[in-house]
Amino acid sequence: MILSQARDAFFRWDWVFDHLDDVWDKVREHLVLTGIALGVGLAIAMVLSVIALRYRRSYGPITWVTGALYAIPSLALFAFLVPITGFSVLTAEIGLVSYTLLILIRNIVAGIDGVDPAITEAALGMGYGRRRLFFEIELPLALPVIIAGLRIAAVTTIGLVTVTALIGQGGVGFFILRGLNRFFSTEIVLGTALSVLLAVTVDVALLLLERAVTPWARRRAAA
């Protein structure tokens, strides 16, 4: 039965339409896993970046550790974690979050460092305190660079979520894994296409977000 299906056609639309509920569920799961990873990753990265900016000497160790996390093959990481945290969302997220940190921290620190020193000097000279300077001046001006990092992290994470299918999560990666097991090309193609589509959509959405939150960046003197 399974084998005959696989031989039928490379991609069967009728199968997709029969399983639309399933597809929708997995897309939603994929977005939730990605969203949590990016949200938690951004929060941790922000804290570590503030530490790195405040105590310059910590920037080296922070990038070293997050760089090491980034370098661990995802398969191996999940294999290590499963005995501890099981086939759970937590296991998936530990991995996914780990992979966002290096990109996000690098971009946050570079973004804040890239703010024109004349602007921070003017702000301090007019009586800004450190905290308000960070939130009202430095962070908004660093947004284009931070969001650029977020876009890379998002695309990376969306691809990586499919791997978590191995530990019972995976979003649309579920179709890829099951398709492989059943030699059913429709599912493999579907999972792959959905993953790519999600990555492109989220990337474009973040680009539009960047445009929306940095209206000043597109206005230039006519002369």
Partner: protein, 368 residues
Amino acid sequence: MADTAMISLAGVTKVFPGSDAPAVDRLTLDVAEGEVIVLVGPSGCGKTTTLKMINRLIEPTGGRITVAGDDVTAVPAHELRRRIGYVIQQIGLFPHRTIGDNIATVPRLLGWDKRRIAARVAELIELVDLEDGMQHRYPAELSGGQRQRVGVARALAADPPVMLMDEPFGAVDPIVRARLQDEFLGLQARLHKTIVLVTHDIDEAIKMGDRVAILNVGGVLEQYDAPFRILAEPANPFVEDFLGSDRGIKRLSLISIRDVELEPGPVVAATASVAEARAAMDRYGVAWVGIGGDDGSLGWVWGDDLAAEGTLADMEPRPFRIRLSGDDSLREALDTVISTHAKVAPVFDGDRFLGVLTAEGISREIVQ
């Protein structure tokens, strides 16, 4: 002096970490209320360091600084800074905020209510001569000169009694710079702020300062006095050298024509004889003669066009194209003397002829 000083530096020293030589060495200097003083000197003279110690962007390693009688260390640095206007060369406008929001920076930090801020922003836009509606634009949409004006407006926003300006006109081209300097002097004449301005440009220092402090490398004060007195009596060879070889010409730019005595010039009445006209020309060694009208106006004719004898009655005098006024400086008068055929500088009050300045007369003003 100490009683009326708005800003007072007493033995202020700054040694940067890792450096043996002080950047500023026991500097003592008072600034009176409503006065513009200019810190000028070669690079490494500590002028910017000195400025930044007043608003504590740099903390001194020794000495005491007071503003309006209060030690600057008596309040937290950010509170102190909100009471002191600050303008820097790169201006440092916030690119993500509109011009209106940029100007509103310090009032916001001080927690003014929205209506008061809006009213103040509108007032400042007008004060610094920016177009109405400019407050909704972003800094990137403005020209260099406009940005500089916004920088000044932003520094003035909370009406601070003291302003610190670090090369405020350094980022614009020379023509715009001269105009902005004039505008700023006009503004200061109305606002009477106490201003410390840093520049490396001695001409700017002479033009802008009520007093000029000339600093040497290592933050050593070489001379602190009115520009005119510094030019007239440089305290030492360093100052003399720093002022340049054209000190006399620089002094001329500080003297208004209205403050000097004018000479009658080669001028006769319309009823005068040709002989009298020739005598007047000879006295000044010029090739023309001025013919005064009953209403105080003045025209002129070439000496070659005079008849051999008789009177000037049928001459048709030409109007003067070169007209100096009492507001012009002796530097402009000298320029007229040496660069026109007139050979003297005629001075008018509107259409009324007041007299002339000669090269000898101008020289006498600075040699005396």
